[in-house]
Amino acid sequence: MGAYLVRRSFLMVLTLFGMSVLIFVMLRLVPGNITDIIFDSAGFVNEKQKKKIEQQLGLDKPIVTQYANWIAGLAKGDLGYAYVSEKPAIDEILPRIPVTAKLAVLALVFSVLFGVPLGVISAVRQNTALDYCLRVVSLSGLSLPSFWLGLLILMAFVQWFGWIPIYQSDPGSLWKEIALLSIPAAAVGFRSSALLMRLTRSSMLEVLRQDYIRTARAKGASDQVVNYDHGLRNAMLPVVTIIGVEAAFLIGGLIVTETVFNIPGVARFLVEAIRWRDYPIVQNLVMFIAIVVVVVNFLVDMTYAMLDPRIRYES
């Protein structure tokens, strides 16, 4: 396990390095920089002025130097200044993270809490009315885009309560905030809960067909023990991996949902920053998201190794 941890950690650092290069290069491959956008919206181009701004922002330097400066800054904890607001990028990014983080965690918790147990129930009660119901619901979950579901939920609120759960920057208590966020979280998490449910179900069914399940029954173990002790632990292996992948996908869903529900989070802010080619915001924010995704995947792999001795004891 120790060797595995070391190897895995090393891989994580390598991945992050690769990500940083990718983010940096891709961002610069997008046509135009902030000066183009500014003059475009102004309707004229002042070449001298444009050069001057580019010089100020360091956009005239070779791309390798720009990259080195960025990484050197990151190492010192200096993210640079946002082009648009001219405030330190960190002050723009940090305050927006908590609400998005809460939303993401809620959505993930929602999808796991519903997806996994319902998948297990569906598998254990295969081909019963309950199983069919759950399968239909999950199918609809897969085919319903989260923004559409979000809009439906909002419309339902308007229709029945004449009121929309608007997110306020100061919701009062944490519980109130969670209550407010749980609706958009459900909208985002519904799809992944449907996915997890289907995956858990098929994984569980696959496992319950295995020889060692029959062995467990032959020992006289009860259905409970067979399904949950022997079955579920094996069935969770692929599910855990997918939970990691879903955590990354969730962030994509958040961008739309933050817009639909008007939540002042990081995801919506990122889209805005991309429009302005606000490099310090975009590259640092995307890097931050990349770190989160990589760390989540690391945790997933650790969980996997904990669940599966075949990985843990690999030489």
Binding site: Q210, D211, Y212, R214, T215, A216, R217, A218, K219, G220, A221, S222, V225, H230, R233, N234, L307, D308, P309, R310, Y313
Partner: protein
């Protein structure tokens, strides 16, 4: 129940030592392709400490018979539709599921064919052996662990305390099968069913595993049902043999008698295919060269011919064979068969 326990005649022991009595067992599968009578009217009995072999070609219902004894046939599609299973004085088919669970792994245990896949990959060997002990003998976790290590020692696993902590993938196939045996005999069952316990193993390991099973049977006094394709193993290990064909028992006798003078042409075919086996393997024939002697194929169980199901492949088959299923009778003392034209005067072996 005239057909029950024909072998018992050959045994000196009275019925008080009889541990298992299977009468007219019928296990059917209700599949899309039709009704599959995987086990149709099989009867036999087993006395304490004896070894009974069940042989027959692939698909003849050996495994389903074994699983029926444990009441582990997948339902759906399978169901035990008739007959009775008596373990000692317990009628297994009348037990509810909870009572049956108390029997499984306790009074009847089973060793499966595939040691690679029959152990749970995410549980330690100790935990998998302990499970049965904790269920049936009310041992604490610690006591069960100690006992598990003893069992591993008993089946000849070196460094049992170390091995107990390991996971199945860390053990070789032979070691896993030993662990599997340890698990099955942990609660000292009255009946042990071994369903092709060695066919997934190397030839060199096979003999060792069979030796372990034989040793345990002697020491624990367990009655053994040995299911196998390998008549060589039968000759070495078993006392009595049941030959199955297409879900039915077609012959039963003591091993020596059966090999010397088989009654059913099918049995005769099986036996005659042994010496050829080695020969065929050396030539370019199919690697799995079992039963090359018997022409034709096993009929589909969902679509059996009206008369004797072996008739289409039988050299002696007559009009009668094709019309009516032969009665199962004692043709010679201690030797029973279902055949209209039993082989006579043949010495097969």
């Amino acid at each position: 129940m005239a057909a029950v326990a024909p072998g018992a005649a050959a045994q000196p022991s009275p019925s008080s030592t009889q541990v298992l009595e299977v009468a007219n067992l019928q296990t059917y599968f209700y599949t899309r392709g039709g009704l599959v009578k995987a086990v149709d009217g099989v009867s036999f009995s087993l006395v304490r400490g004896e070894t009974l072999a069940i042989v027959g070609e692939s698909g003849c219902g050996k495994s389903v018979t074994a699983l029926s004894l444990m009441r582990l046939v997948a339902d759906p599609p399978g169901r035990i539709v008739g007959g009775s299973l008596r373990l000692g004085s317990t009628d297994l088919l009348r037990l509810d599921e909870a009572a049956m669970r108390d029997i499984r792994g306790n009074r009847i245990a089973m060793i499966f064919q595939e040691p690679m896949t029959s152990l749970n990959p995410v549980m330690t060997i100790a935990r998998q052996i302990s499970e049965a002990l904790m269920l049936h003998q009310n041992l604490s976790r610690g006591a069960a662990l100690v006992r598990s290590i003893e069992m591993l020692h008993l089946v000849g696993i070196p460094e049992p305390a170390q091995r107990a902590k390991e996971y199945p993938h860390q053990l070789s196939g032979g070691m896993r099968q030993r662990a599997m045996i340890a698990m099955a005999v942990a609660c000292n069952p009255e009946v042990l069913i071994a369903d092709e316990p060695t066919s997934a193993l190397d030839v060199t390991i096979q003999a060792q595993i069979l030796e372990v099973i034989a040793k345990l049977r002697r020491e624990l006094g367990t009655a053994l049902i040995l299911i196998t394709h390998d008549l060589g193993i039968v000759a070495e290990t078993a006392e009595r043999v049941i030959v199955m064909y297409a879900g039915r028992k077609v012959e039963e006798a003591a091993v020596g008698r059966l090999f010397a003078r088989p009654l059913h042409p099918y049995t005769s075919g099986l036996i005659h295919s042994i010496p050829r086996l080695a020969l065929m393997r050396r030539e370019s024939g199919p690697a799995d060269g079992r039963l090359l002697e018997i022409p034709g194929m096993v009929p589909a169980l969902s679509n059996l011919p009206p008369g004797c199901s072996f008739a289409p492949r039988c050299a002696h088959a007559s009009e009668l064979c094709r019309r009516e299923y032969p009665p199962y009778e004692e043709k010679r003392p201690g030797q029973w068969a279902a055949c209209w034209h039993p082989v006579v005067g043949d010495s097969g072996g």
